[in-house]
Amino acid sequence: MSAAAVEVIDVARRFGAVQALDGVSLRVAPGEFFGLLGPNGAGKTTLISILAGLTRADRGSASILGHDVVRDFRAARRNLGVVPQELVFDPFFTVRETLVFQAGYFGLRKQGAWIDEILHHLDLTSKANANMRSLSGGMKRRVLVGQALVHKPPVIVLDEPTAGVDVELRQNLWAFIRKLNTDGHTIILTTHYLEEAEALCNRIAMLKAGRVVALDTTANLLSRFAGLTCRLVVPALPAAWQSRVVRREGRNLHVGLDNPAQLETLLAALREDGIAIEEMALAETDLEQVFLRIMKQPDAVAGGAARSAVRGEP
């Protein structure tokens, strides 16, 4: 049996009064491009910290390629590369020194050729001997990516790697990460850019208040909420339809529809109440709408895929 790239079983973690994680279970197969989504404070970074051994779970277990992150931490950490969310660096050293040291911490020496290659792929060759302090934010971010790759980990976790990164760099970074995935690395990604998760990830877990509220392939998530969204500008909306509003932008109301036939019902309801439509447009469901709908559900359980989600409130 081949070990899961990442396996998390019933992990819980409390910080003071905050239950950051409340019984999270998930399994990521080798080679997957896995998305971890959720609003701020949902527990994404705590979960990643537990995988990386930066913090410990109150209960449950986590393993990387079958190596428990606490008992077998050396093997677990050798198999894991983490790009942290914060833009951290050591101001004493150059880009190359940073990478050489990081390789050394993993017990690797004489990695010059590999480091050259990382620098090349991340477009940092010309900055190899520049002090970390002198780099722009985007460059520092790329050095962090390089540091996560320097020991060639089979599993790579990226915690919001594109936050605050300009569009062009973001595109390059995605192309690079996608290449890593095609080369066989398992990728776990947290991001706020839902359209990117939609484009990149083949499976997605959504976290809310420390629980997995959805866990499925991207395609299934999209089709579960399939259908359409109808953007309306209307003076009022019949009461029965209020709960269908997935998003409000100024006067625009985005109303979720299960199928095209429902459009008829919506229009009939508007006509019945004598409401005049000022503007209307139809769009396919995207991940953002799925996300918003799942997050709106009171104690959201989107299907049975998420083991931890079916336990209900205590």
């Binding site: 080798p30 080679g31 990386a52 051994g53 930066l54 913090t55 410990r56 931490f73 050396r74 093997a75 950490r77 050798r78 198999n79 894991l80 983490v82 942290p84 914060e86 951290v88 660096f89 050591d90 101001p91 004493f92 050293f93 020194e97 040291f101 990081q102 050394g104 911490y105 993993f106 017990g107 690797l108 020496r109 004489k110 990695q111 010059g112 050729a113 590999w114 480091i115 050259d116 290659e117 792929h121 540091q147 020991h151 060639k152 980990p153 089979p154 290449k179 890593l180 095609t182 080369d183 066989g184 690395h185 398992t186």
Partner: protein, 280 residues
């Protein structure tokens, strides 16, 4: 375990899907951190080495100018300037050992780059060895610098009767302060907590340990109290190496200092293994 093979740096990206890397050597992780710790202070050596040597030299010039001729130590067997030199050497060694591990750790904590050593497979012992040895190197380099400069004023000091005792006490004293620095760095959440530890614990203990005086010149109460200060044994034992005279038998001092080093090591290793303040 994974065999140490040639590095595979020329490989194309990836292909790493299954197993971790070859070419890794287990003992090399902490050696890298140790080396990084040395390079960190070496890159700012004007501040970390030259400055403390200069201040020790100023102490020597001022105190010997004021007190030489008025004061002799050990019943007139040692002149004051000679007496002062080993105290200053030891003080510089101790303070700089403490400064190195504490400031390295708190800086890494505050800037967040401590994550770089927390993500790799470094054990509690790896972290301990690297930070403590790195800090000892700084302390001992500064101590040696102070020794070289001050000996220029007192060439007679080179004829040490018991140099091995001096070396032993320098090593142990520097180890203890490096460990204390590590503890302070672990404990602190802000820079001012480290400097409070330095100013309210380390400085008084050093100054009241007999750097500038023999405790025999103190009133009985303070003399007795000095025996509870572990720093006193470090400096007294160190001085024995220079003059063959001390306030306390050197073997007893050595036992106290070694016990302190062992206790602090055990405590710190335990805290590191528990992830105390590092892996909350």
């Amino acid at each position: 375990m994974i065999a140490a093979g040639p590095p595979q740096g020329d490989r194309p990206l990836g292909g790493a899907a299954r197993s971790a890397v070859r070419g890794e050597q287990f003992s090399y992780g902490w050696v890298t951190l140790f080396y990084k710790e040395i390079l960190r202070f070496w890159k700012v050596s004007f501040q970390t080495i030259a400055a403390p040597v200069l201040s020790a030299l100023l102490y020597l010039l001022i105190f010997s100018h004021v007190l030489e001729g008025r004061l002799t130590m050990y019943d007139g067997r040692v002149n004051y300037t000679s007496f002062l030199v080993p105290g200053l050497v030891m003080m510089a060694t101790l303070q700089n050992s403490f400064a190195n591990s504490s400031s390295s750790l708190i800086q890494s904590k505050m800037s967040g780059n401590l994550i770089f050593v927390l993500l790799p497979p470094l054990s509690a012992l790896d972290l301990f060895a690297a930070y403590v040895l790195g800090a000892m190197v700084r302390g001992l380099v500064v101590g040696a610098g102070v020794f070289v400069v001050t000996v220029a004023f007192n060439p007679g000091l080179l004829s040490m009767p018991h140099p091995l005792w001096a070396v032993g006490f320098a090593l142990l004293g520097s180890a203890i302060l490096s460990i204390l620095g590590l503890l302070a760095g672990l404990m602190a959440e802000k820079f001012d907590q480290v400097s409070a530890f330095q100013n309210f614990v380390i400085m008084p203990l050093t100054f009241l340990s007999g750097v500038f005086y023999s405790i025999h010149s103190l009133p009985p109460f303070w003399q007795a109290l000095s025996h509870f200060n572990p720093f006193f044994y470090m400096i007294d034992g160190f001085r024995f190496g220079f003059f063959g005279i001390s306030d306390v038998a050197p073997a007893w001092s050595f036992a106290v200092v070694a016990a302190a080093a062992a206790t602090l090591s055990a405590l710190t290793l335990k805290l590191l293994a528990n992830g105390w303040k590092l892996r909350p």
